[in-house]
Symmetry: C2
Subunit: 281 residues, 2 copies
């Protein structure tokens, strides 16, 4: 596995691989890798000739009162997980942006609600860093997890709009045995916090089951979800059109139920598909 | 010369040429081509295997009260000029953006002053369209004229910041025999307007000559420029650091004098280098 520590090294590596005619797959991460990240690598591995993972805790996507400084890090463990997953190059730059950096890539509408509303600037930070990373890695395919469903849809929109020559591949959300969606932030959770955290997926799956049983009214489905939640601060519980991310009244198209909440000091998110399947193009 | 009429055709053409190992050069334009545009094509032609020109009047870079609807067009004349200049592919899409387009690429600081101040949103429209075009054309080199000096510097900044794998090549400003900077908008000018328009370059060259003769004080140089100007509405006459585009007090580094003014209903711009030469990296 090649270790690449600067944008210049990454770009040179990608250019050389491209000249060899190799198809490149890419999984961008903020490190502290877990089974969810590894599942994204496994998803791309058979589809490409070379697999690249990046680890960069991107300051642009953290708000002033968020957990940038205490975001968990484990470069050695991450490196071993990448090696075991058959990664060809690990891009782990101490700094990613050039001197005088002053560009932003933003997507409107899709970013208006959900995490876009509760974490101002967060998704702008994501699209900006992903645009730079996709260009550095010159990948043919990049995999993003459905755990961050709004982020996934926003990145897909950006890639289409800017005609970035990459295919965005969604990676299914991975859960622990108890149902909690995997997240690097789960390490913050006390046992009591975790018990509350488990109510997120219970609420979502209760909505999903009720819909499958015939209940199509969003109002009723949301009440069912609400009744299952036990969290310290609920950020949002929403049922939206899976394409536009705007609220729906009835589940008459591919939809998504999404939740974000704080338990203790930790913000958790989760989501499930509801209704007809979303066609991914 | 291949005629490409959609983003899909452009992307497929570029991909095929890339697979052949061809280096691609690109000159994006809004059409109504003049000798200035052709000089950009001539500059790239010997440097690349395939030369692409795009013609697209980009609505995103026009303000609500600007001349989008009356922007001059001449697709047949343009096509002939491209053919004569040895262009391999002319990309002339009726529509450039996909349905639901909602992405913007913005550069801050460099866009604060000059045309960025007087044409709000204009440079954001430029960076957004150029990002999409560079990705569609997958070019190795792209040429932008120094006539739009702020635009050139903003695009160079964007390309660095987003790591777009393209070299930005500046093309020298081209003037008519009487000194007027070439512009598609010059066709709007009456004889009287044109006489006023000629005072733009006279002012700039007066500043340049005074600096070369030893006058380094920006205040004095600007007064010299002002004294030469005869326009209907002066938008700005500025002397700035050529890298940062911020005002300077003394010409002690590569600098640029820039002017924008209205004569009649037509907005004209011009600029000249002053002081030490700017190193282009």
């Amino acid at each position: 596995m090649d270790l690449l520590n600067s944008s210049e090294e990454m770009a040179a590596w990608a250019k050389a691989e491209g000249l060899k005619g190799h198809r490149i797959g890419f999984v961008p991460t903020m490190g502290f890798l877990h089974t969810g990240h590894v599942s994204l690598m496994e998803r791309l591995r058979p589809r490409v000739d070379r697999l690249v993972v990046s680890i960069y805790v991107n300051p642009l996507q953290f708000g002033p009162n968020e957990d940038l400084d205490r975001y968990p890090r484990d470069p050695e463990g991450d490196s071993k997980k990448c090696r075991d997953a058959g990664v060809d190059a690990l891009f782990m730059p101490p700094e990613l942006y050039p001197d005088g950096f002053s560009t932003a890539v933003t997507v409107d509408r899709l970013t208006d609600g959900l995490c876009g509303a509760s974490r101002p600037g967060h998704l702008d930070g994501v699209t900006t860093v992903v645009a730079r990373l996709l260009n550095l890695v010159r990948c043919d395919e990049a995999c993003f997890g459905e755990k961050d469903f709004q982020q996934l849809m926003v990145i897909r929109r950006m890639v289409r709009d800017l005609a970035i020559p990459v295919q965005i591949v969604p990676g299914p959300l991975v859960r622990d045995a108890d149902g909690l969606a995997l997240s690097s932030r789960n390490k913050y959770l006390s046992t009591a916090d975790r018990a509350k955290g488990l109510t997120l997926h219970r609420a979502l799956f209760a909505m999903r089951e009720a819909e499958a049983a015939g209940e199509k009214r969003a109002r009723v489905l949301l009440a069912i979800g609400q009744a299952s939640l036990d969290v310290d601060v609920l950020d949002y519980l929403e049922l939206v059109d899976a394409e536009t991310l705007t609220a729906i009244e009835h589940v008459d198209r591919p939809a998504r139920a999404l939740v974000a909440a704080k338990v203790g000091n930790t913000r958790l998110i989760d989501n499930v598909a509801i209704g007809p399947e979303l066609s991914w193009t």
